[in-house]
């Protein structure tokens, strides 16, 4: 028995290990923060680092399905919710850093920021859109919404990830290399999905024609 079929017991362990792994970026910042490791501008460091990890977790979550299809490891799907919720965990920290550490609850300045700064408008929108996805992540919510509607709602994640990359792109002063890497990876993940979608359509279309002919 290879990796294609993992016993549920094994998946459970894997999930626990992954959970610990996903907390490392947070633990690292906490350690740096208590050991004078955040540099001359700690608030900027924290904001950037958590933002970077939010985007990374979004992309990691989005790579579960392509990876499952390419490898045939169906158990990967059982890790997706947790990864998505970690993206939400980090974006919440990112947002909290902004309103608390960066703006220090200066609501007026924040409202102005959100309305006037495209990169903040875009980032804030992505954060808002992610809230319903996190809220409907439980099994009970999937049942209540019905699989179809749930799936349709959760496709918003494509918009969210795109806005997230745009948020990063618009904030850098000149060196766009890192946002470009995120954009490329996201594009790749979209492309894989398109390929599978086309294949599915191609597989279903001729059969319709045939059934009509028969």
């Amino acid at each position: 028995m290879g990796l294609a079929q993992l016993k549920p017991e094994r998946v459970k362990w894997l999930k626990a290990a992954l959970f610990a792994l996903c907390l490392i970026p947070f633990a690292r910042l906490a350690w740096l923060g208590t050991h004078r490791g955040l540099g001359a501008n700690p608030i900027e460091y924290i904001t950037r680092s958590i933002g970077w990890w939010t985007l990374s977790f979004l992309l990691i979550t989005l790579s579960v399905t392509p990876l499952r299809r390419l490898t045939g490891w169906n158990w990967l799907l059982r890790l997706r919710r947790m990864l998505g919720l970690f993206a939400f965990f980090y974006v919440s920290l990112h947002f909290a850093t902004y309103i608390w550490l960066d703006q220090f609850f200066d609501w007026q300045s924040m409202l102005k920021d959100i309305a006037k700064r495209p990169f903040i408008t875009v980032g804030f929108t992505a954060f808002l859109l992610l809230i319903p996805l996190a809220a409907t992540s439980t099994n009970a919510m999937v049942r209540r919404l019905g699989a179809k509607r749930w799936q349709r709602l959760h496709r918003t994640v494509y918009v969210i990830a795109t806005l997230g990359v745009l948020h990063f792109w618009w904030l850098v002063k000149k060196d766009i290399r890192e946002p470009l890497i995120f954009a490329t990876l996201l594009g790749l993940l979209f492309l894989i999905r398109l390929v599978y979608l086309r294949r599915r359509l191609a597989a279903s279309a001729p059969s319709t024609v045939r059934s009509q002919a028969a």
Partner: protein, 318 residues
């Protein structure tokens, strides 16, 4: 506390350098105690590590220095840098600028001048009495420092080369050597880095030619061996590691203007009322402090420099 020591210290140096560092530590510690125990201050306070820069003798205190502000720590000034020739990360310059060779070093002063001259760095260091100039430094990104620069008014250079009546602007060109500056290999900006000033801005006594920091020669990551500092403008106007100063008739095209003219203008005076198209310039975070403070018009030097821009629409000439 972590104090990095250089690998080899000649025996003759040990006592004096050690004592000197201790004195520095003591001064720093007293300053720290005096400062309000802000969360961030306490969190990032670190002693300055031992380093190789030579102490500059007989510095004059300048009456043009900013007073009543707490100095940013040497460590922060030398580890949080924008110097894209050495990489775009804030910690890149302090990690890689040691490759820069600052001797021999020449600065060619040329263009619309009666007496063009190539100055050696030794000549520049002795051209006029060195002064300590404490200035606020406001980065266009929204953070600021208070820095004890060492240098003298740039007008000292101007006097010696005698600009002609055609000289309307001064253009500063920085070194661009891919052998010493790995960032140059990336087409992030148009190298070499070029900055410029209007003649009256260059003549202004606050504009300095800077060779030192905290009583010592400039560390490489802060623009060694010679740079300009114009305290009422955003930090990127302060060209570093200058190799050429050219007096010209036409307004020079500066590097950040070429990169994005809508976001970075020729004047780039600190102005809380004119936002960067993508972020607000109304406030700034002083490095070492937790909260933000209001940004001052002309970075607080309005009394001295506002008259240079009388009648100009600063929204248009940003």
């Amino acid at each position: 506390m972590l104090i990095k020591r250089p690998a080899a210290i000649p025996p003759s140096e040990i006592t004096s350098k050690g004592l000197y560092l201790k004195r520095r530590e003591f001064m720093r510690a007293s300053a720290a105690l005096g400062a309000a125990a802000g969360l961030a201050t306490a969190g990032i306070w670190l002693p300055r590590s031992a380093h190789a820069a030579a102490k500059l003798p007989d510095l004059r205190k300048s009456a043009l220095s900013t007073t009543g502000e707490e100095l940013t720590s040497y460590k922060d000034i030398t580890t949080y840098n924008n110097y894209y020739e050495f990489g775009t990360g804030k910690d890149d310059p302090s990690e890689t600028a040691n490759k820069l060779r600052t001797r021999p070093w020449n600065v060619a002063v040329e263009g619309e001048v009666g007496k063009p001259k190539v100055f050696t760095i030794e000549e520049i260091l002795k051209l006029a009495p060195l002064e300590e100039r404490v200035y606020r430094m406001r980065c266009v990104e929204g953070w600021s420092m208070v820095i004890p620069w060492v240098g003298y008014s740039f007008s000292e250079i101007i006097k010696r080369v005698q600009p002609t009546s055609k000289a309307k602007y001064v253009q500063f060109t920085s070194l661009a050597d891919p052998e010493q500056m790995h960032g140059i290999k990336m087409p992030i900006l148009d190298w070499p880095y070029v900055e410029g000033l209007r003649m009256d801005e260059a003549m202004h006594p606050l504009t300095i030619l800077c060779v030192g920091l905290y009583d010592e020669l400039l560390p490489n990551q802060d623009g060694a061996p010679v740079r300009v500092v114009i305290p009422w403008k955003y930090g990127f106007k302060n060209g570093k590691s200058i190799v050429k100063i050219r007096f010209v008739e036409e307004q020079p095209k500066t590097t950040w203007q070429l990169a994005n003219a809508r976001e970075y203008g020729f004047y780039s005076n600190v102005n809380p009322e004119v936002d960067h198209p993508r972020w607000s310039q109304a406030k700034e975070r002083r490095i070492g402090e937790f909260g933000k403070r209001a940004t001052l018009m002309f970075n607080g030097y309005g009394d001295q420099v506002a008259s240079l821009y009388a009648g100009m629409d600063l929204k248009k000439y940003y």
